[in-house]
Symmetry: C2
Subunit: 339 residues, 2 copies
């Protein structure tokens, strides 16, 4: 089995066609007249995008600044810091950057990572830094109808998707980018070549079979996944509605083109806040109740916050709800004892 | 399908066990008390190794210098230059580096890439730079009995292998490193996490099935592959033995532990030299005869050299021999006309 297909490309044209069909069917992204790059999950694609966009800045002496709004997916920071390229530096929170006094800020090259829906809090984030030297990478991993209403097909310059959050096959490591600019596409292709000589053909075959099945079933898989996620979210909201100690992110329902009605969000993660001043380490509070989340500081936030995953097996989810109920039920008792 | 296996690792323990068995069977590498990391082909592994070894040099102000003996596999240079990390710089030829006047050279941190058998010329290279600040990455992609005699099991600190040059499944993108030092292993594991969250499970399953088949057939696959490569090499040697214009690399037969006899080399590539002074662009000379190779300068060499691949379909190889014969047969006529 060669590195390339018979047409001398590294990516399966049939799989690419299928991806375009899928986006057209769901209505979550514009792919006409766009280039598509494959990667080992969105992970590899995000890094390729950061390299490709920072390479634009050859005239600049100072490295490209990489920013993201807090709370942000921690991988952006980790990757930029780890690869430690002379091309880019992680600058932190996009709000802080935007509101900084302008000592050359406006002329600095910037990449803003926008996760929409956001990881960890599920919000339909938009870019907040603008200017002629700002480029955006839209991480659209969760922009599927089982997690969010789809108000319109996404149409950003560079959008990243992944099989992991579509069919759940995280272990197959398959992601793709939809790209407007040919030069950026070419640079990302070179990145994929130098990083791993493209994506495993076994993986591409698996992705092809999965997406084919998704399309053959029409709306069925999306309906099932939405019902599953919506039910989970409602149970979680109901559980924490009894609590004064823990709160959840809130959403404003929106019109969803896919389901053709106004719909609530059904996010992949709960972004839980420990409201009590003394619960500074929310992660430890939940861990004491055997609930394992991810600490707020991983996402650039305070540790009053914890991310809980709602994309897990039904058994694991049931256990999560059960433990949260137990924790919440103790609140009054605790308050009474304290009072 | 999750990111990790049930034992919470990203790499299949069964596949790892099989790899150790295979090395023990072939006798080409020591794996006892060694760590193993998986990657998307040797490509991703080589980069992970460069990052892992350069990270050692935290006390140093200047970046780690990366060297390789000319002719070298061009990817080492391309990767180091592309990723453009503050941690390392590509320095070029290992011989030039070693023979440089010592203005701080001996105290500089160095990584030497050693490809053995070498790509492009098939020689069993050894590291040539030594000192307390020198680390080596042994690219052992071609260290299998179908390409080279196996004089002893390789036992370097960090060795890289790939399925691509073992079973030919380049498109599956599967490689592995055998590592002595736990800290280096841990750093490479982090690299794999930040780069692509490990290796596709579809790929790991494919690699498992292939290596299982290889082991079940005993020496059969290696015997077949050796016969194939040896026959090709002999035909090539015979073809160019009639030429004064083109020459080939030469080998000294060595004792092979695997076949338990003294054996000639049967390399993956021919490293052809255009001997005539005027044939400065050997690539163009061969291309005019419809023979497509890779230019010497890709390997840090002069363009009197071209690499021709011998790992291709039998039909393609036959065509290559045919075209070379035609080219060589014209030599005398040409000399006569010139003379």
């Amino acid at each position: 089995m060669s590195y390339s297909y018979n047409d001398n490309t590294w990516i399966s044209q049939q799989l690419e066609t299928l991806i375009r069909k899928l986006h057209a069917f769901v209505g979550n992204a514009v792919t006409r007249n766009r280039y598509i790059v494959f990667g080992a999950g969105s992970t590899q694609i995000l890094n390729a995008a950061a390299y490709a966009l920072s390479l634009d800045n050859t005239s600049s002496q100072s490295p490209t600044r990489v920013v993201a709004s807090v709370p942000y997916y921690t991988l952006y920071k980790q990757q930029v810091e780890y690869f430690n390229s002379e091309r880019f530096k992680f600058e932190g929170d996009a709000y802080t950057w935007r509101n900084r006094p302008d000592d050359g800020r406006a002329s600095t090259n910037v990449i803003e990572f926008v996760t929409s829906p956001n990881n960890p809090d599920g919000q339909l984030n938009k870019a907040i830094v603008d200017g002629p030297n700002v480029k955006t990478i839209y991480d659209r991993a969760y922009y599927w109808p089982h997690f969010t209403p789809i108000p319109a097909p996404a149409d950003e310059d560079l959008m990243v998707f992944t099989l992991s959050k579509l069919t759940g096959h995280a272990g197959s490591r398959f992601g793709w980018a939809v790209i407007k600019d040919e030069a950026v596409f070419n640079r990302m292709t070179i990145h994929m070549k130098l990083n791993s000589i493209g994506v495993s053909k076994d993986t591409q075959l698996r992705a092809f079979k999965l997406l084919k099945a998704v399309l053959e079933e029409g709306t069925e898989i999306f309906d099932f996944a939405y019902q599953t996620m919506e039910t989970r979210w409602e149970r979680l909201v109901a559980t924490l509605s009894l609590s004064n100690r823990f709160s959840l992110q809130k959403f404003n329902p929106q019109y969803c083109l896919f389901s053709q009605k106004i719909r609530d969000f059904s996010p992949a993660y709960a972004w839980v806040k420990c409201e009590r001043e003394e619960d500074k380490d929310c992660y430890a509070v939940l861990k004491a109740a055997n609930i394992i989340g991810r600490q707020g500081n991983e996402f650039g936030s305070e540790d009053h916050y914890v991310r809980l995953s709602l994309v897990r097996s039904q058994d694991d989810f049931n256990i999560l709800i059960h433990r949260l109920q137990k924790l919440v039920s103790k609140e009054d008792g605790a308050s009474l004892r304290e009072g």
